[in-house]
Amino acid sequence: MKKILGITLGIMTALGGFVDLGQIVFTTQAGALFSYELMWAILLGAVAIIVYMEMCGRVAVVAKEPVFAVVRTRLGFSLGLATLIASNLLNLITCAAEIGGVAIVLHLLTGWPEKLVLIGATVTFSAMVLLFRFQWIERTLGLSGLMMIVFAVSAVVLHPDWGQLARGLLPSVSQPDAKHVLLYGYFAVGIFSAMLMEYEVHFYSSGAIEEDWTTKDLGENFMVASLGSVLGSLLTVGLLVLGALVFRPRGIFPQILSTTTMAGAFPFAEKALIMALLGTLACISGAAVETALSGAYNVCQFFNLKWGKNQPIKSVPVFTATWLAMFLFALIIALTGVRPLQLVNISIVFGMVIMPLTYYPILRIAADKNVMGNHVNSKFDTIIGTVFLVLITAAALAAIPLMIVTHSGQP
């Protein structure tokens, strides 16, 4: 019974922590522009994240190697270091975007000055990471994120055309002109990237080690990775539906976060609006904390330094200093007044570009019988992992050209 409760809690936490600012923005914009035509990108992203999240968790448990230790051993020091620098720059930009988003939502909830809540939120996150154990941070933010379900409920209440939604699972372009096709490609890559953001697997695999998972927990690893991601993807589908039903008929291309949150409460009244804001706040707060911690995990794992949120602060000085620095620099970036959605665009596109460098070493080690023993990838795992790696690489090659020709997805 205790085990089932633990798994349920893990799944709920994964669901609540699945959505971040990038997903909220890209998916609603995609719905507003292409209705349900990009459903297939969500499906593809969901299967890919399940495959790789499970693999990362398994490698962490069996080989006791988190993602960046694997990156160093499999890519070599130079390429590994370049990946580390790129990943942490990306974590920093994403963290700044999420903190900026948190300030916007807090401003909308309370009316307090945005700069003040920006500083207050960053201090609160730092205190939270400093004082709480890993499990408490993960569960508090993950479970609060469940309030995002109001977006899915709104989507269902607005009566989507289920047949059309199902047809979106097959790629198709309604208008054959070049501009439309390029925008379609940009948003397909954006959705795929947002669902596979690297920090999610860095955080997940480090979490497996933080929580002392053993091979007995591999079943839980599979359940959490698959069911949490499936349910989180359904939430993402809700965002796409809202974009298609609320924004598209009105000719709206949502460019500010406050417009997107309104969609979550569109068929309802004040209380739903507050719930949509609180759900968004929890999700992007979770992402802010995950990216900051991810930065610290990456550095320590790469240089083989002692790390761990549950370790006494004095015994992990580099780890503590790194996540604190991540918050500090993210705050400085956010205080410059750069718009969070602009940062999200950058983080999603550049995240896609460096993604193969993270996922390739994971696939290699998970398929290595010498390291993984009985828990090595099955043939099916390796084939599907390779197929997704090819897709990830293709999307990585297309990301920057698509960003340039579409002016970052401007219709």
Binding site: I104, H107, L108, L109, T110, G111, K179, V246, R250, G251, I252, F253, P254, Q255, I256, L257, S258, T259, M262, A265, F266, F268, A269, E270, L273, I274, L277, H407, Q410, P411
Partner: protein, 139 residues
Amino acid sequence: MHKTTLLVCLALAALASCSHDRPLSRDELQSKLISAESLASETNTFLQFVRQGRATDPYSNGHIEYLSLEIGRIAKELHEAHPPADAEPQYRKGLSQVDALAAELNQLRGRIQRRDELAHDQEQIAGIRDTLQQAVSSL
């Protein structure tokens, strides 16, 4: 030395490409006017939401502020750019509507809570949106 010179040249070229003196292309103008049209529609949808009493006060104040900042940003970019040589009338027409929308949103920031007066604003903004739509279609 060569590498440094090359890097400086590249940086200058990048800066030059971001310069405000660069003429706007027809596509860029269309994209900015579509954004403005979308913001007009967002504002009208939001005003309806407020009139129905479904938004909280901090949300109403905050959202109108963000809408106003966003249209202000588009207006600034359009003012600072050179109009496209082959679409100057559309540029002028679009810019006047963007300015009108920015002024309307700026006014609304102070009186978003006066729900009874918002119907008139909705009409005004719908008119601006229609004109923007015409400008976009003519590009």
